[in-house]
Amino acid sequence: MNNNLKKINIYAIYLGAIILILPLIAFFINAFSFRWFYPQVIPKELSLQAWVRLKLIPKPGQRTFEGFIELWASNPAVIKALLNSLSIGFLVTIVSIIIALPAARVLGLLNFRFKKLIIFIMVSPTILPPIAFVLGLNINFISWGFSGNYFGVCLVHLVPIMPYVVLTMTGIFANYNPDFEHQARTLGANKTRTFLLITLPAIAPGMVVAALFAFLVSWSQYLLTFLIGAGKVMTLPLLVFSTASSGNPALTAAISIIFIFPAILILFFTSKFVSGESGATSGFGKI
């Protein structure tokens, strides 16, 4: 490759990279500015006013530790939404892993009739769009009493999450050697201890990946939470949407930054998983 071509190549990459992070830059500027109007590229005034308005950071003069605690304890909308998103995310992640584990073990280790069909069924919620099922489900939920409450929202979140968790964990079990468990049993370990000391450490990395997937999917849900929650369960994505529609960019940006925080964390965390080791991405060609 001659040098000029190489240089163009590299500059093109840089350009692409800059284009890709433009939105992120815009976020941060918006979040920390006041009256950042057209045509300013750089805001005249940097301030924390958005965060104060959201009641996440106390007014100047009250920015002590107690000040923060007092402010958050007054349960501003953002804190409420944040707690909901976090708790729902954790809850459905844990539940989905517990439910998926035995199924994944059976799918990964054994062969039986209808196995392919069952795997297809498990994966089907990722194929069809959520709108296809949530409308009908909402009516059922209303009559079953799950509409408009926390439990109903958690329940519906399980639908998009289960396929990812089952699929990831099945892959883990496919590479797992169950003889280790028998070896431990002959050495005197009962079924419970075998599971805790032998099985769990072996499948833990896969479980972590599955958990991250699950959490992220739940965290990002808008339509399902909006419809089933019926306005009574407020999560971060709902807040982002309503604030974005309202037209105050600084507030929107601030909430969005909170909203993307776990995603960034997970990105750092999994970058070593995804870049070479995991079979998850390379398996896509075989779908």
């Binding site: 039986f112 769009p129 709108i131 296809a132 639908v159 995603a263 060609g285």
Partner: protein, 291 residues
């Protein structure tokens, strides 16, 4: 071997139960409702009038078909462009150079980002008072915000396409990188030693190599963007409207007839996606049989 069979059944039941009752149950019940079967208000007959209304009635036909056209256009364009962008990015980044890891990171950055946030980001950058517009005015290209073209909340779905490209390019990128890194280099060097130039290597070695994965990923992305609600809801306009948004609004209408029509529309969306997936399977099976 009865004990083992029982174990299999018991293990598979919980997730299958959830999927059957919530997912298939929801679809089934939505389908019933779309046929006019609403026991809650005493309607027990079955007919396809909701479907007819949605697609052919005077009231909705234009809305539906322009919406469908918009949907197809948005999905095709965003999938294709995201794939192309990611392909060139992946090809370019393969050779090591300064800041390679950072670029790698940035190109995959958007993957875990929720779609909503990406959509908001697009607003911040591409709206008429957004970052790009301001940069343009600083260098004197435009005068007032009105001079900047309408890219977001426009009637061609450009903003929506942009948002999808941003996010899906990262997805394609990661898939392409893993394929290229595991297989690409050896084949390329071989072709090079056999005298193939860059374009030939691209056309005859790289493209066939990545095509299967690219194709599968495209189906996933297309199906997703076709049926998703969030981004068009945030970045779309009243007319023309993308189908999922339309379906949702019908559903929220207090008129119960409109509700059936919303369900019908969502079923239509699902059917279109199904056709696509079946088509994909048929294509890949045919290809396998050919090999």
């Amino acid at each position: 071997m009865g004990g083992e069979r029982l174990k299999i059944i018991l293990s598979l039941t919980p997730p299958l139960l959830i999927i059957f009752t919530l997912f298939f149950g929801g679809i089934f019940y939505g389908f019933l409702q779309s046929l006019g079967y609403q026991p809650a208000i005493g309607k027990y007959e079955i007919n396809f009038s909701a479907y007819y209304n949605v697609m052919f009635s005077e009231r909705y036909a234009k809305l539906f078909w322009t919406g469908l056209g918009l949907n197809l256009w948005v999905s095709f364009a965003s999938t294709f462009l995201a794939a192309v962008f990611a392909l060139f990015g992946a090809l370019a980044i393969r050779k090591t150079f300064f800041a390679k890891t950072i670029c790698n990171f940035i190109y995959s950055l958007n993957l875990p980002m929720p779609h909503l946030v990406v959509a908001v980001g697009i607003i911040f950058v591409f709206s008429q008072s957004g970052l790009l517009a301001r940069l343009a005015s600083q260098i004197g290209l435009i005068g007032s915000p009105g001079d900047f073209p309408v890219l977001v909340k426009d009637k061609y779905g450009l903003g929506i396409i942009l948002a999808y490209i941003w996010k899906e390019a990262a997805f394609f990128f990661i898939i392409l990188m893993s394929v290229l890194q595991s297989l690409g280099e050896n084949f390329e060097e071989l072709a090079q030693s056999l005298g193939a130039n860059r374009w030939q290597r691209f056309r005859y070695v790289i493209l066939p190599l990545v095509m299967p994965n690219l194709f599968s990923a495209s189906i996933i992305v297309f199906a997703f963007s076709f049926g998703a609600y969030e981004v068009p809801a945030l970045l779309g306009v009243i007319y023309p409207q993308m189908l999922p948004v339309m379906a949702f609004e019908f559903f929220l209408n207090p008129d119960l007839n409109a509700r059936s029509e919303g369900m019908a529309l969502s079923i239509i969306i699902a059917i279109i996606v199904m056709i696509l997936v079946v088509f994909y399977f048929w294509l890949t099976q045919a290809k396998i049989r050919k090999d």
